[in-house]
């Protein structure tokens, strides 16, 4: 019997999760549609005044991206838990950290990344000045990854509950707030023409912290959720 290294197992999880997400469709399309629809509703609700919209655009884009990301979070471990493949993962002789990291990465690639790629288009709809768009994309790239990590902790804690949706948002939303503050502040600074790099750097620091610690918390939470 040939043994696989940790990196090969990491790739196997990533490929399997991406495949099943792409085949089921709704999993990655729903948050994206939500993001697009809500963002296009704002100009209709607030009015087409370009100056007013431009002022609100960074906040709107960030808040809606955050909600869309939270929507996607619940499905992270749900189907694996229901069909029993989560148990197979927990019974792996491999260290849990890389396995959980692969799952979160796959989830981000199907939920967070599409949001980031679509955000410039929605920024145009919301009349955001072009000077803010690159920073918006970068802040969303880092920020949505942090949201995926935090969301994974909440999803792991609530996966054993039959109706965990509301509890999940209560656990996760307070932890999302720093990301929202720094993310939208960076975009506003870029639009106002003041320094935005320190704010982005803070987001980067949060990201590093999440990468280092969140998978450990997720692995522990999954073990507790399955132990019943």
């Amino acid at each position: 019997m040939k043994r696989m290294g940790v990196s090969a197992v990491f790739v196997a999880i990533l490929r399997r999760d991406l495949r099943s997400a792409l085949r089921s469709g709704s999993e990655w399309a729903n948050p994206l549609l939500f993001f697009a629809i809500v963002c296009t509703l704002f100009p209709l609700g607030i009015g087409p005044d370009a100056r007013q919209l431009a002022l609100l655009a960074p906040g709107i884009l960030w808040v809606v991206a955050l909600l869309a990301s939270m929507m996607a979070t619940d499905s992270l471990f749900r189907s694996d838990y229901d069909d029993g493949t989560l148990e197979q993962m927990l019974l792996s002789p491999m260290p849990m950290y890389p396995l959980v990291l692969a799952k979160i990465l796959a989830h981000w690639l199907t939920s967070g990344l599409p949001l980031c790629l679509m955000s410039p288009l929605l920024a145009v709809i919301l009349q955001m000045p072009m000077s803010g768009v690159p920073v918006l994309v970068v802040s969303l790239l880092i920020g949505s990854a942090i949201l995926s990590f935090i969301g994974a902790i909440g999803a792991a804690l609530t996966v054993g509950l039959r109706k965990g949706g509301l509890l999940l948002s209560l656990i996760v939303l307070p932890l999302y707030i720093p990301v929202l503050i720094f993310g939208s502040a960076a975009v506003k600074s870029a639009i106002d023409g003041v320094v935005y790099l320190p704010t982005l750097a803070l987001l980067g620091a949060l990201f590093m912290l999440a990468v280092a610690l969140a998978p450990l918390a997720v692995a522990g939470a999954l073990r507790i959720s399955v132990d019943q």
Partner: protein, 210 residues
Amino acid sequence: MATALEIRHLYSERDERVLFADLSINLRPGEILQLAGPNGSGKTSLLRILAGLSSRYEGDIDWCGQPLRHQWVDYRQRMLYFSHGSGIKPQLTAVENLRWSCAMRGQAVTDGEIYAALDRVGLGGFGQQACYTLSAGQQRRVNLARLFCIDACFWLLDEPFTAIDLAGVAEIEHWIAEFAEGGGMVMLTTHHPLAIDRPVIRVDLGGGIS
């Protein structure tokens, strides 16, 4: 032969109801153990404890003479737990599912080995079909194919006969006997009377050991 799995004075309760108390079981290579008992008597709970998924117990579990909690990695490489969940992703094909299951164990398999396992469970021609297009019994067989492509010496089978036809039940019994013949250990729960021409230890969780 030396005892591989030794359970001493195991106690577990659920919702303040005692499932089993002072349960002691020894299992040696080549032995088959059937857990019996009415619904809710703790069969699945015991298997989950032995799989390492549940920590709701008191007592000692030894693996190869050492406490189990000191050797999870070794134990997980050799133990195969077959839960009563489907264990497969419906969107993926049988081959993709099995390859992932093997990867979870850190085990590299070739396509040939996966197709051989599917052949054995009677799904030779279904390897490239998405599992949701298969019947419940066939999906169960995809999950059973794990027994043949994963390298293990201890099978923990939770209701392996669910949704399987009569001929399939006889086949699974044959596989279990064959596996035990080769030195494997099997612990399974089922309500179905086993027709295996090897001695089967029967543990009744509702009552005592017979």
